[in-house]
């Protein structure tokens, strides 16, 4: 699968947020997007999934050469796109397992035994409690449980390209390591991945063979490079990348 973002301009409530983004993500590739607060990272993630509030003003988003701008969010998910929410939504009364079953069915898999197997494997891999699947979606989850539950969904639903919006924020070092390992495993199994983050610590948990770090500033990718770019930011901050 190939996801292409071409010269993308987008606004929220009339305010220009994305100013000509260009990015290509293939299956099995890892792209890390870093940038100061308000640079447009989450808006980019929302634009890819077609969430409300983001208005595309110019440019295109393509999957395997076809524009997806006219597709609804569920249709984009059916193509194989997945968004890990920075703040997952709580849904009262819907058990996590029932939600996963509905999602898996919608994406074309309906074998409950297979689902249970992959849920159990995911729970083990992420060192989660099995109780989580009986609880309503994200309701009463701790910050860490919410992040892990999003990654669990990624492991179970097996998207072709995942956009992970701050999978590491609010997690302790052990949890970051566990999540990093799970993401790396999915990438090595062929999943394309965009990781949006503020910190370099998740990078040390990610296998970075096919990795690229992009710096987003004022709605535009201003520099791309290897892991060393992230290390530079860690030492010097974003000042040298922020263009007037």
């Amino acid at each position: 699968m190939l996801l292409e973002i071409k010269d993308l301009y987008a606004e929220i409530d009339g305010k220009e947020i994305l100013n000509g983004i260009n990015l290509s993500v293939k299956s099995g590739e890892l792209h890390v997007i870093m940038g100061p607060n308000g640079s447009g990272k989450t808006t980019l993630a929302k634009a890819i999934m077609g969430l409300s509030g983001v208005k595309i003003r110019k440019g295109d988003i393509l999957v395997d050469g076809k524009s997806i701008l006219e597709l609804r969010t569920d249709e984009r998910a059916k193509l194989g796109l997945f968004l890990q929410y920075q703040t997952p939504v709580e849904i009262e009364g819907v058990s996590f397992l029932s939600f996963l079953n509905n999602a898996k069915s919608a994406l074309g898999g309906s074998d409950i035994k297979e689902l249970m197997q992959s849920v159990k494997e995911g729970i083990k891999e992420l060192a989660m409690s099995e109780e989580v699947i009986k609880r309503p979606v994200n309701l009463g989850f701790s910050g860490g449980e919410k992040k892990k539950s999003e990654i669990l969904q990624m492991l179970v639903l097996k998207p072709k390209i995942a956009i992970l919006d701050e999978p590491d924020s609010g997690l302790d070092v052990d949890a970051v390591r566990i999540i990093g390992k799970a993401i790396s495993k999915s990438v090595s199994n062929g999943m394309g991945c965009i990781v949006i983050t503020h910190y370099t610590r998740i990078l040390s948990s990610l296998e970075f063979k096919n990795g690229t770090v992009h710096i987003l500033s004022r709605g535009k990718i201003v520099e791309s490079g290897g892991k060393e770019l992230a290390e530079k930011i860690e030492k010097e901050g974003y000042a040298s990348f922020v263009k007037e």
């Binding site: 969010t73 997945f82 929410y85 939504v89 849904i91 009262e92 509905n102 999602a103 919608a106 969904q153």
Partner: protein, 365 residues
Amino acid sequence: MKYLDIVKGLDKELPEEPDLLYVRNSVRIELKKSARPSIDEMQNFAKENKLAFDIITNGSEFIVNEWIKNARIEIHDIEDELAYEFKTRAESRYIGFTMANIEKLLLISVERKNKASLRLLMGGEGLLVIAKADEQAGLSLEEFLYGDNSIINEISAEKGSKVGLDIIQLSNKRSLNFYNAVLSERSELNVNNFLCNREAKSRNKIVGYASSKVMINNIIIGKNSTIDIADLVNSKGPEAKSFLNSSAVGSHGSTISMKENSSIEKGAYRSESVISTKGISLDNSKIEAIPSMGTEENEVKASHAAAVSPISTEAIEYLMSRGISKSDSKKLILMGMLDKHIMRFSSNEYLKTRIDSMLNELLGV
């Protein structure tokens, strides 16, 4: 208008407003004439839906299963004299005024320490059900209400008894259904009420004495409906508990009103009362949730919550981001709100299937 007073010694002047039902211990109920379904039609419904009933009545005729265990069933033509006579037999515990056009009285009683479960298919109008559980007895009543209906339940739970009352509306026709209950010391009442009518009114009052417990669970689904429900729990003794939960879904310009009232009287110390009311409007439907609490005692626990909103677009989008279609996402959210209420009904599988198909129709799934 002519009223029957089946409460001994209570001789109050009734208020003029037809909807003002509660004046302390009195209840005024206005019934309208409606079409009476035929017993054959009702039997066919039972057959088609593979539901077995112990009693089928259209308010005039009755079919009673002769194998009913542990419950005494009596059917009476109701006349003023009989109603007055009845009050003595029923130990004068009933709290209602009922209009004179009540024609039939169905009396269900369970003797001390016995347990009985009855499923009733009822329609038409002018039916008064008086159900009584003796000390430490158990009575479970499931009432499936057919077609246009106007039915009154008077429930008496004696010391240490447990009574369950499930009311399930089967059509979108007009309904006036009311229940009044008196809970003696340490008795328990669980009421589950499902309304989906084009026009429905439900006015209910429960009086709970020491250490009694009442749980009311209402589900309302409106499609171009006018539904008005009001519950009042009056805690009169110490350590009485009441839990009132209502959830409503409104669509196609419905107007739904839920008034949940709890009153803890002086002397009902260490009592507890919780009211929770939720509503989701799918369009321009109006849903009104009015919880009300009053307490004359200091040492009590009382809380209420009410929330009415459109269906959350954020939640819909979250589910859609996992591949679930918009209409399926809405249904999942609505079922999430209703499921815990549905599970409390004895015939929860039947009700779940029914609500599932109703939501499919509302959402165009």
